[in-house]
Assembly symmetry: C2
């Protein structure tokens, strides 16, 4: 049995989803020789606690679900910020789940860098540090002999990164196209069913898919971050957000969508990255695709990626792109990969 | 650098596709510390040769592509049957590519059993031994500390088995539904475009998708073999061909297909396996699916599998189900897995 001592920075939906998985699958994981112990949680709103012997997932979940601060729990230390938790908790793995900032990547980048420098593995579902600093952080992890798990940054727990690297890498991936933003795909699906853009957006906001300020989704920034991750992780590129030819869905009209339908095509916000003679070309833009393309049938908030490969031709993966348990599963997948490589 | 000495039993399309991949990617594999050397090939039609220092993929391919017997090559031994090759070649890996027999599994089962018993890894793309004897052969491999690679038996090189086990196993797979026979899917697609069943079948035969006696495909035997493999490998079941509720596509009429279309549904030959309170239930039958289901858009000879999981909901993989390079890639994937575990 190998025990991994975990620090969770951030305990919102994803952190709670991961805790729920550990609560329900802890025994199953133990049969595979893996024991995950949460020794610290540091969350700006829910409180920060450290207990060397670990917290049970159930006590953490019960506390926040009762609306109480984590600091009502028995703990050796309380109120530490993330930096101090990483410095003093002697954990094996940082699980970085703070909020996403695609401009600076902070505070997540600093947390991940600090953990890797201390020789801790780092897992994140946060696009910021990966879209902005993957080459540097991956190199640091390699230098320290630890892993940097990033499965949850694209398609949440649907294993798009590991499929593309471990299972399709040797087939020669030359191009990746995907629907990697569920909010815009939901809006486009609603518009196909007759809704106006503004009604569809309001609906997406009501469903919790879109934020109050929807710019990050509808202008394609979120998808652009994911394109950078696909390019840099799966194609060994070193591009940045500015290299992505980005256009959102805000200029698409109901009429465009109806016209496409009449011609048996469909508008989708397609994220694309392709190896060319001039290097990797990356874009996010509304694209007309044929109804027979595997991405055409991907409706609602579902995500999908098509990998074009030399040996297999096209391989498509379709699955959830968000969700509490789905994203929590990404963390489990990264933790199991750390365990396999141990 | 780790060298794997390979025996290829069978050198038809798949064996040649694998040799072509080794010819083109040998240097790339070497950078990953893996060297694959073909020390023997035993094929009933193309001849049987053994050379301890190995044959280059190019000389094997050039010889058969020139229409010459492999026995025209310089070799230490010629004319050995598969059994003798396995017994005397001191290889590390048997690559079993002889013809498929879903009734007895022979001669492939005997070859695989013999190799595993000698402590050799075995890789096969042949459904026979896996559909009929997986539990026994997997146990034998485990006992001998070697691997039994079977990725190519479902969806050829599209990594459906490894996705289902390594990447989705921990998500709790409760049901698998798929289009796992390209021939029948091609026929149904042609019928949707207006062809009669007999014209569509003749077309599939002309394209090389269907054999002269199409029974194995159109009556669902091929798909049933794959259902058994999915159940036994991914769900730990121990079912056999007789446990599959099997029905082919021969009773579907053009009228059925047109009626489905009018109701925005589509007939697909769906292979299904599900965990129930009464054990695993497996079937292959024509099934009406909604146009919004990810499997509905899978046309022509393409294959697809939808895994229903506890943590992620549905995840679908779409890709080729046949092809020389695609199936050759399955062998490479299994070989790389052997290498990773070494």
């Amino acid at each position: 049995m190998r025990t991994y001592r975990l620090i969770l920075v951030g305990f919102g939906n994803v952190g709670q989803g991961f805790a729920q998985i550990l609560r329900e699958q802890g025994e199953e994981l133990a049969t595979q020789g893996l024991q995950a112990v949460i020794v610290a949680v540091s969350d700006l709103l829910k409180g920060s606690v450290y207990r060397p012997a670990g917290f049970s997932p159930a006590e953490l979940l019960d506390t926040v679900q009762a609306g109480k601060s984590l600091e009502t729990l028995d703990a050796t230390a309380k109120g530490w910020d993330a930096q101090r938790s990483i410095a003093e908790c002697e954990a094996d793995v940082l699980v970085e789940l703070s909020y996403t900032d695609l401009k600076t990547g902070e505070p997540a980048v600093s947390h991940v860098r600090q953990a890797l420098q201390r020789g801790m593995h780092a897992i994140t579902t946060n696009k910021g540090p990966v879209a902005l600093h993957y080459p540097e952080l991956a190199e640091l992890a390699a230098e320290k002999g630890v892993q940097f798990g990033i499965e949850g940054t694209v398609m949440s727990g649907t294993p798009s990164m590991r499929l593309g690297s471990e299972l399709l890498g040797a087939a020669g991936v030359t191009k990746i196209q995907g629907i990697v933003n569920g909010t815009t795909n939901y809006i486009l699906s609603q518009m196909e069913d007759g809704a106006s853009y503004s009604d569809a957006l309001a609906d997406a906001q009501a469903q919790g898919y879109a934020e109050a300020d929807p710019t990050g989704d509808v202008e394609g920034f979120d998808a652009a971050g994911k394109v950078v991750i696909l390019a840099n992780v799966l194609m060994g590129a070193k591009i940045s957000m500015a290299d992505v030819d980005r256009q959102g869905i805000t200029k698409l009209t109901s009429r465009d969508i109806a016209e496409a339908r009449a011609e048996k095509t469909r508008w989708k916000l397609i994220a694309s990255v392709e190896k060319t003679a001039d290097g990797v070309k990356a874009s996010v833009k509304p694209t007309l695709i044929s109804m027979t393309h595997p991405l055409a049938s991907v409706g609602g908030a579902t995500n999908a990626v098509t990998y074009s490969t030399k040996l297999l031709g096209d391989v498509t993966l379709i699955g959830p792109g968000a969700g509490r348990l789905a994203t929590g599963y990404a963390i489990l997948g990264d933790l199991m990969a750390i365990h396999r490589s141990a």
